[in-house]
Symmetry: C2
Subunit: 347 residues, 2 copies
Amino acid sequence: MASTLKEIADHMGVSHVTVSHALRGTGRMAEDTRHRIQQTARRMGYRPNAAARTMASRQTHNIGVVIHSLGLQCGGWHAYDTVSGINSIIEPAGYTTCLVQMHDVESGEDGMARVFREQALDGMIVHAALLPRARHHLGELSDSIIWCDAGLQESTNCVWRDEVQAGRLVANAVAEAGYRKALVVSGESHSERPYRHGHQREAGLRDGFERAGVAMQCVRIESGNAAHLQMIIDQMHPDVAVVAADYSHVEPIALMFPSAGWSPGVHFALACCDDRSWFAVHWRNLSRARFNRYKMGQQAANMMLQRMSSHERSVESHIELPAWYPGHVKELSIPPTLVPREKLIGR
Amino acid sequence: MASTLKEIADHMGVSHVTVSHALRGTGRMAEDTRHRIQQTARRMGYRPNAAARTMASRQTHNIGVVIHSLGLQCGGWHAYDTVSGINSIIEPAGYTTCLVQMHDVESGEDGMARVFREQALDGMIVHAALLPRARHHLGELSDSIIWCDAGLQESTNCVWRDEVQAGRLVANAVAEAGYRKALVVSGESHSERPYRHGHQREAGLRDGFERAGVAMQCVRIESGNAAHLQMIIDQMHPDVAVVAADYSHVEPIALMFPSAGWSPGVHFALACCDDRSWFAVHWRNLSRARFNRYKMGQQAANMMLQRMSSHERSVESHIELPAWYPGHVKELSIPPTLVPREKLIGR
DNA sequence: CTGAAAGCGCTTACAG
DNA sequence: CTGAAAGCGCTTACAG
């Protein structure tokens, strides 16, 4: 088990520089020589030393993926799709995904992860809606940042989806299904967050419903809060459709309401402005604005790679467009959650 | 913005070695000197170079977290809880979580992630049930591996939960609630996988039901397959309780059945052998064998740290015990999914 | 108590 | 076409 270039070099009677060139395909030498060196290295079980490479080449080949740690135990699952997408692009390109959970609190140097303190990253993809202060802090740590679904919508280095359009799509679908009023369910507004998808979705919904002449009412709920759920149930009416602003509100509604006697797609109409990749497997009949977080992660990763290869300071932003998905699945006998008004079973 | 020890050293008229010692709290020197150096370093914005540190100290401070990439787009979400738990321990200890998605296929050297090829890790936590071949391959890459919920149950370096016990707990609860028969729903058996939680859970269920004199029938389904779901619905009867072997089967049942007129906790009884951290937020009334993947990740991470600090080759394995959670939530008017037999509303 | 020396394993730029 | 030199920024062990 040879572990260094030098050992291979000594073994073959050449310099370690030649071995280095041979293995990486750089430099000039007889193809035969190169081939023989590669063979030997393989036979001797040579494995390069990442730290030495980093040191000499000034490239870490590490990409930080910054995600939010919302109380650690709960929340943040939505990030997994995106992170998987990022890794699927980055890893084959020879980069490593370094996961960094970040609390807004630790703006101070000392609270930061080692990976930040010790210049261990070539760049980072931020997938967390941080406060301006924290955002600024990251900007000082690296000049190569891609903001992926991070609440930043600038002309360069950002990826986001058109949330307003998602809202419009849902509003149109609800109107077309024959409902006269929409109950829009979303979470408490965290006013200090610089950007909430909810706001934009609501703007889109409002716009869409207005054009279609459908009334709209917003309800803020905490998930799992019985009183809040009851508030919605109290408003149930055949003319009313329930619209969930994001995935974290559509799940509790679908899971908890049935126990109270209200099944989506049967007793009431339900549509969602948000999407998660597992819906495609476990909840195919959910009527929703479709959207692929995995793909968005890949998009951000590609932008990162492009930026690093071209040494450009910036790369054009990308906006992902959602599409309406009715939830009609041929091989499924179960109806979509947004069933046409006239097919609803009253209670 | 000074970026090296030497710049600070020159600035203060000492050697870079002294600065190194001062900053890390090693060596011996006047407290005053140490303090002055630290101040200067901070003022000059010094940030250590991770690669140089790694090189000199032979420690990367990187921990690989190996997860399975099941077709990439779908599956694997369950890993997120565990990964978060790992990171929550590792990061404050100065280590970085390097995510590595691994396909069983790429046993060949060339298909492996760079992080594997280039000795960039101090150790790894494997959270994927790999084939023996792939497992063996990892073993050659690192001598410091913790197997977390990875299908390996040896006396050292492993973390797993007692799945048999989970099955027993569920069986007892179902029997006590007054049901005479259980319909156990699980996925297709992937026979080539070295270990499936499902097998052990089933063994526990079988044991528990046998003792309690409750009949048990297994149904294998693909999630989202309507015919399969119908198979279950056809068997519905007031004496029958539905038991989901893992989280990926309980969700489709709870999400899809209501649309077909069957609500858990109202029209039929439902219990689950599995748990996910988000159940605690979004699905609190699910009756289940409770279990904390986040905590298990922390456990694995602590074992890793212990192993690295003590330079021991191995650390004692840890078995996590599940607990029965009925799903009775005081402030929730919604019933648990495993409602007592006599409270069930017939259809 | 302090610092000069050696070395970690590579890559890059340059001289032959 | 090939290789010797310089250097990346630290830590460790050791001599003073």
